[in-house]
Assembly symmetry: C2
């Protein structure tokens, strides 16, 4: 059995807890929280809930620690800190800072003789893998990534910070015409506006100036100004009833040419349609936690990415069974 | 530079030759043929064309030998034979016989200290990889593979063997309603007939009994009897004009559930739309030839599959660049 620790118990942490139940070769050993552990109720009976300050007491009890904090401030500190004592997996997703995070974690993990795997999930993660495979296979081609339809937490938060907004949910939606153009192999050049639209469901405070709120959303730099954005004002009840889920997904598409004259066109497409973004991310992470445990047993050390892991290491099935059933 | 040999120069061999030109870190060293080498004209100037009997003279000149023969009789003999002297890649695609082929090649490659990689292409190959990743991520789920729209060489050949048939092309076509049912996450049970239809374009001999030919096609066991099959009789000119390409493709879809009550559904879909089946297969093989060369340099031996190769090994770009650009 692979013994798993969960460090941080929000949406992702709960997703890890439920994913472990679907994998017979794993068990949850402990959940670590910054809150008072006495106030935290988890779903798995008989599992320790401990304060983050106690984590070093679990060094010999956990095979892989899964970090469930945020990329902005938690993981840059927590992943190197925990890699001193544990094999770790995180879902660090600030793309521009991945090389620096990797270097920091790699140095600690190598000194400690541990295996770490960062930036695991679906993007970065499965989408990255598909960009890599497709570009290696079709070197003469173009890559496209579309996200959605799905909830963007960052954009929803940005709307909530506007004065007079009580609550909000923002959906990122790929533009069908752009998807079709890419799938045709036409290799179009697409602007930000041509690829995605943004749809916002906003609960305004009683008496708030809705026209001003809508204008502030649509003109918000980086978040909305470069997109065609639609704003719907709805009641708090409707928001809770219709928009409480956390769906997401998207498409990674590469089109490319082969042949002595580049005369043949090919399209490789990978897509995800997810009812629950955190639960799917958790499912990817748990499969990679298995790979990390195995790489550690085989004597590997240092910080890995999804690019470094042989695919067979993700599965609980033995190699000969994978070859027989799936190859 | 990775020096490549091509063993067999049909559609796949020509695809390998053109794919090598798209990869700056590779060069074609020699093409081996069973024909009289003097009669074989290849596209790359200055490259040796040799008889298969001369292959051992090239032992020190080739890093990876790519086998382009058929799975029925060529590869079961050729891959073990050549793995005595070379690192090799083949596209052995008789699914049921892969474990035996793997064992035979593994034994030879280990004794010889070489790396072999078998069953490389898109199915087996990229489709297998996607079945593996998806099933590791969503253990509670169902797998579906659809092929087409594309030309099936085996089915076209079967039609050509019917008396009175001059030439024929057979297309395998996934049923849209089945694809949509799978994508919905409904996890339908689908019969052979519900998943694919078969469309045949047949050139009949002057005066041949078309009704009999159509009946023989539609009732042919294994090949057509379990499918809804359409037969069109066309002229030789129309066959050449409209059906000379070798397109193919297909879909690997897994739907699965997560959550404490299995309450969330997810769909992972990988699809290919290929203008040229052999050229795409060749492009996959060439990327894996790079991986084989690297695994050999690092001291690996034995027979590998796509399940065993870390994804980064397929790319000509260094790891830090992959992490920066694609992760």
């Amino acid at each position: 059995m692979i013994k798993i620790g969960i460090f941080g118990y929000g949406n992702l942490g709960r997703g890890i807890e439920s994913a472990i139940r679907q994998n017979q070769d794993m068990e949850l050993c402990a959940v670590f929280t910054r809150r008072d552990p006495a106030t935290l109720k988890i779903k798995t009976e008989g599992v320790a809930v401990a304060h983050v300050s106690e984590v070093e007491n679990y060094v010999d009890k956990i095979d892989v620690m899964i970090l469930c904090g945020g990329s902005a401030t938690d993981l840059p500190v927590q992943t190197p800190m925990l890699a001193k004592h544990f094999c770790v997996v995180d879902s660090f997703d600030t793309h521009a800072n991945i090389p620096a995070h990797l270097a920091a974690v790699d140095s600690v993990a190598k000194d400690a003789g541990k295996v770490a795997l960062i930036s695991c999930g679906w993007d970065p993660g499965m989408f990255s893998l598909n960009r890599l495979y497709a570009s290696a296979i079709l070197p003469d081609g173009e890559d496209y990534t579309f996200w959605g339809k799905g909830v963007s937490q960052g954009h929803s938060d940005a709307i909530r910070r506007i004065q007079g907004v009580v609550d909000a949910k923002q959906y990122t939606i790929p533009v069908d015409a752009a998807l079709e153009a890419v799938r045709s192999g036409a290799a179009p050049k697409l602007s930000t506006r041509q690829k995605h639209t943004r749809e916002c469901f906003v609960v305004a405070a009683e008496g708030a100036d809705k026209a001003r709120i809508e204008k502030e959303i649509k003109e918000m730099p980086n978040y909305f100004a470069d997109y065609d954005t639609t704003v719907h004002f709805i009641s708090r009840e409707e928001l809770e009833r219709e928009h409480s889920g956390i769906p997401h997904g998207g498409f990674v598409i590469r089109s490319g040419r082969t042949g002595f004259e580049g005369e043949h066109s090919h399209v490789i497409e990978y897509s995800l349609k997810l009812d629950s973004n955190p639960e799917f991310t958790a499912s990817v992470i748990v499969a990679y936690a298995r790979a990390v445990a195995r790489m550690y047993r085989e004597g590997n050390v240092g910080c890995k990415t999804v690019f470094d892991v042989p695919p067979a290491y993700l599965s609980a099935s033995p190699r000969d069974e994978l070859i027989k059933k799936l190859l």
